[in-house]
Symmetry: C2
């Protein structure tokens, strides 16, 4: 899977990421990974749900993983932040 | 699994829910389900990560599911909100 199949959810409105994920499926991707950290995790779940309910109805949640990442703050401290990856896959590509 | 094994994450600080989940494991539960909706989903991931990294180190993420629930707003409209369930299970109880 290339990096092009990963959509990072951040501070833009959910609709921006819904469009990005839907476009990747329309361009022929069989799998798209939605990634987020911290407060954006809730938005990533919204994006996955909106894509599979409204736009790419044969897409299913193939896997969800959570973890903790270490990031360095502006003042140099190490902070831990939760992360999540949601793998959406088109049904017809799963065996 | 009884209802006592479910912790609903809402508007309180994450530490409240970390304590609730950890307590359930300490009381002998082999499995605790952490549930959240909407913006609280990010906090639910924090809670799961803090519990398994700091307090119940033999607990693993056994399953994560996402979905969409319909709720009725104060003015009677039906709104859709994302939901998530994270199942934490103690390793020694898994076969």
């Amino acid at each position: 899977m290339s990096d092009e199949n990963i959509v990072f959810v951040g501070t833009k409105p959910a609709s921006s990421y819904v469009l990005a994920v839907t476009s990747q499926f329309e361009e022929g991707s069989s799998m798209v990974v939605i990634k987020a950290r911290g407060k954006a995790i809730s938005k990533a779940v919204d994006v996955a749900e909106i894509v599979r309910r409204r736009y790419v109805k044969d897409a299913e949640v193939a896997d969800i993983t959570i973890g903790t990442e270490e990031v360095t703050s502006e003042d140099g401290r190490t902070l831990r932040v939760s992360s999540m990856s949601i793998v959406l896959a088109r049904q017809d590509d799963r065996t």
